[in-house]
């Protein structure tokens, strides 16, 4: 094993990372101008957001219902069933909503974005745009990036809201937790800034990261059938890792701010 066997993969990793950062910088600099053409973005909000709605709603409902069951079982050991609403709401708003939505978003919308752009490259549609002096980044990549980044926080909000009703369904209707205690504990414990808005901030970050990674992987895929399938797989894998790592960093950051007042 020569020295190059170790250095080359490292160098190519750093190179890919640098290329991705340049790509992100270009996406962001083109964003203000792209907002002037809302019809393209609307199309992408439909493709990434509206089309993901069903899976997000079903997942949210069942995650909430499981939270209701598990929360009720654990809390009743301490005689604290009345806090079920607060437990479900805090776990949904702070963690489960943003993270599970981001992972589902990567699986449902990210893969679609990556394979669509990858196929555009494989079938020379991107080159065709370049031939017509249309910047494919502006025309293809940026609207998809913005559409995904807008859809993700909205999807997460839908997820959390449905989740609360799932927990309510199991906790109040099935297990017999007091209705007033359920909603009262939520209102008492949930803080607008520390819980709801910190969760929303997470979803905004995850939305930008997930859409950017999908667009980047698709745009830079190898223009073959295998290349597109690899780009799709990489999108899910890298997004999942990025979201979970960022989630830890953001959580630590928000908690640190909380404790410092």
């Amino acid at each position: 094993m020569s020295r190059d066997d170790i250095v080359d993969p490292l160098r190519s990793f750093v190179q890919t990372f640098g290329a991705s950062q340049l790509f992100l910088a270009r996406l962001i600099t083109y964003t203000p101008r792209a907002l002037l053409r809302p019809s393209l973005i609307l199309e992408q909000i439909f493709a990434t957001g509206s089309m993901s709605l069903i899976i997000i709603m079903i997942s949210g409902l069942f995650v909430g219902m499981v939270l209701g069951l598990q929360g009720y079982d654990s809390l009743s050991r301490f005689g604290a069933e009345d806090s079920l609403g607060a437990v479900a709401a805090l776990s949904l708003f702070r963690e489960l909503g943003p993270v599970v939505t981001a992972l589902l978003f990567a699986g449902r919308a990210g893969t679609a974005l990556a394979s669509e752009i990858g196929l555009m490259r494989a079938t020379d549609q991107i080159s065709a745009l370049e031939m017509m002096a249309i910047d494919p980044i502006r025309r293809v990549a940026v609207p998809r990036f913005i559409g995904g980044a807008i859809s993700m926080p909205l999807l997460a909000a839908v997820f959390s809201t449905i989740g609360i009703f799932g927990a309510w369904l199991v906790g109040v209707r099935l297990m017999g937790v007091d209705e007033g205690a359920f909603w009262g504990s939520i209102r008492q414990q949930v803080d607008l800034y520390d819980d709801v808005l910190s969760g929303v901030a997470k979803t905004v970050v995850f939305g930008v990261v997930a859409s950017f990674l999908a667009v980047f992987e698709g745009y830079n895929s190898i223009p073959t059938a295998e290349g597109v399938s690899r780009a799709t797989t990489r999108t899910v894998v890298i997004t999942a890792i990025a979201v979970l790592v960022l989630d830890f960093v953001l959580t630590a950051w928000f908690l640190d701010k909380d404790t410092l007042g």
Binding site: I45, F46, G49, L53, F93, L154, A157, V190, L192, G261
Partner: protein, 161 residues
Amino acid sequence: MKQTRAVEFGAGLFVLLGVAALFFLTTQTTNMSSYTTKGYVLVGTFDNVGGLKVRAPVTVAGVAVGRVVAIDVDSERLQAVVRMKIDPAYNRLPDDSDAAILTAGLIGGQYIGISPGGSDQYLKDGDELQFTQSALVLEELIGKFLVRAGQGGSNQEGEKQ
């Protein structure tokens, strides 16, 4: 044309639903009224605030009328200085009211309970509460109890003799 309309309808429906969900989360699950920036500040000095936290409720007769906004230590008197913001609707608290740090339930958080006094002068912005009662610290209570139990035991022995 028909297809663009369907796309617009779908996207519009989705965004409306998402915004409605965000609206629900921010207004229906949180206690928005506690974020009114209006209100007047009262100051209380305590020997020990126990587990009191910033944003803990301030109550009168069990009803939340404000929040704790800051807890500091007075470097001269070495006492805890608690600033609380009170809703302007409750501006008729007598100036001889006293503040106590209480605990909600067994494992509940701590809050400040204000017991109104009888004065006809009302507390104003920046006033300091004259009478305060510190938090009950469990270890101190147990310590006192043990000392008293010890004394009680020796007294009984003395009586026997």
